[in-house]
Amino acid sequence: MSLSELLRLTGASGDEEQVRAYICRALQATDVDVAVDNIGNLIATKNAPPGTPMPTPRIMLTAHMDEPGMIITSIHSSGMLTFKPIGALDAATLLGSHVLVGDKGIPGVIGGKPIHRLQESERRNIPRMDSMMIDIGAADEKDAATLINIGDYAVFAPASGSWNLAGTLHGKALPSRVGCAMLLKVLALELPVAFTAVFTVQKEVGLRGAQVAAYRINPDIALVLDAHPAQDFPGVDAHHQEAMLGAGPVLNAGDNLGMDVPLTSWLARVAATAGIPVQWQAKPQLKRETSVMHTTRTGTRTATLGLPCRYLGSPYQMMSQSDIDYAQQLITDALMRLAKGESLPC
């Protein structure tokens, strides 16, 4: 298993098959029980080793498999493809981007009217997504129809791979695949505790996978791994910068996120004990899987470990390796504490 392989997979919401198959293969030769539920969530159950003394609360961890993308709505007579967005795609980065279309990953580009031909009024506005088309190099409609079906999904093409920056990760689909890679690492540990790791579908279009997975598993505690927007850029005042890259995982104190205050505070104490830096952020409007899991059945204690990420929804997102390492350690420490029977404060 490698993160760079996960990042190269295509998986817009509703089209997570490549990612699911990859994770299934990664778990094949392990002691983890794997099942796929009715809507495509991959549920990996890690049992406690025999002779584990104490019953622990039922624990669920989640990371989503899907990324924002596009869906093909028609083939134009020119052979170009019209599309609609899936999830929170950054429209300002679409023009001039390379994409992959369909299961076979047909390469295409999103081009626009050249600058030489723009009216003054056109120069100022972000072009409307419904005016853009994907060019796969087809000669005409018939030629394109040999390669593409209406309803095919498209995603940003992976980075060209020329980057090799110590300590920084970049590319498309980072929020989703970094979380998946972290869950796979937790599943590979030998911990004296049982838990269920869920690789969810359709987070980007309404947290739908997490909702039904939480119903099925009915956990006492659920921890979500996801990105947290970082805007620590020049020109943004310090108090608007949100999370900062490299300053540790983000703990949220939002009112609409399904953040369980005692659970989140407990995580902060676990971090402090281990010398793991964390950042506190209040951003109530974020869409988090915790928001739906919190109110599943009779209620679940939920918290998110946020991974600071710049340029969400764009083809080149950026995260810091140290934040990921700290978050990985924090989950492990939290699971160890729960294994030892530490009870959560109310």
Partner: protein, 355 residues
Amino acid sequence: MDTWHALQQLATTGGPSGYESPVARLVTQMWQPYVDVIRTDALGNVIAHKQPTRSGGIPAPAVMLATHMDEIGLMVAQVEENGFLRVVAMGGIDLRQICGKEVTVHGKTAVAGIVQAVPAPFRDDKEPDHIPTWPDLFIDTGLSTEELRQKVQVGDVVTFSPPCKRLHGDRVAGKSFDNRACIVSSLVCLQRLARVSHAVHVHAVATVQEEVGLRGAITSTFSIAPQLAIAIDVGHGDTPGQPEHDTITLGKGPAISLGPNIHRGVRDRLIAVAKQEQIAWQNEILPGHSGTDAWAMQVSQAGVPTAVISLPLRYMHSTVECVDLADIAAIGRLLAHFLADLEPEEVWRWANVSV
């Protein structure tokens, strides 16, 4: 070397206006086996000369082929804290298209980065549907303040580094196909000329600084003093939403341009050769400034008959410029046949010089 392999090498090399030397080295390597002399002039133009290989009975005239090798890019204006850079434009950058694009900063070593903008609420113009302006833009390198300061300084140039990819059929997409694709056409032409005889001096030139004012064409044309000059450059390709009469079609062969920048006799001869060799060709109307090196070449010294051959290209000045490889090769073939068939007498006549 096939057209795609040559194009990939040329297009993925960074060389904005005034900083073309890495491209110049590559062009020199590619053209050298097929010419007699190749040199670089004071501005950095690569000038290749191939002597006539048959006699036309009278002094051989000089024919110049010009393809510019510079690309649009950015220049570092300020090195900020925490790995960020501020930049300015070199050439016609479309601000609607640069956010979220990967770039290479040509510092002491190559540094990768992403172009991005501060979110709308932190701009002077806070309208979220408006594109960012230069003060809102930056490059994020992910490096620490110290690392970046060691590698990059104000004045370093920046080029885009998108994938260079094969699409369906013979279509390909990437950056700076404007005008590296036409350098490949010149290569195809020189390769073919090596196998046939011709009665004129051929000067293939890869010009510098076209994007910022045709500057390489001005000096190279002066030094060659040709009797005929042809610019090979890209033309706006067919794109939905753009008038058909104002674009040229990908896959339909070279566009043989017409307008005040183009000598009618030369154009007619190019068309005759295309017909004779069964090379598909198309018209491109350029009613004034052709936007090519031909504009400068035409008024060099006491004047030069000029023509423009255009390669159809979609999405000009973007990271996803699209061309058809068959068109690149067809231009090379057309030029080679044109030059091989050319009689010195015709060229002197077009130039209104009696010999």
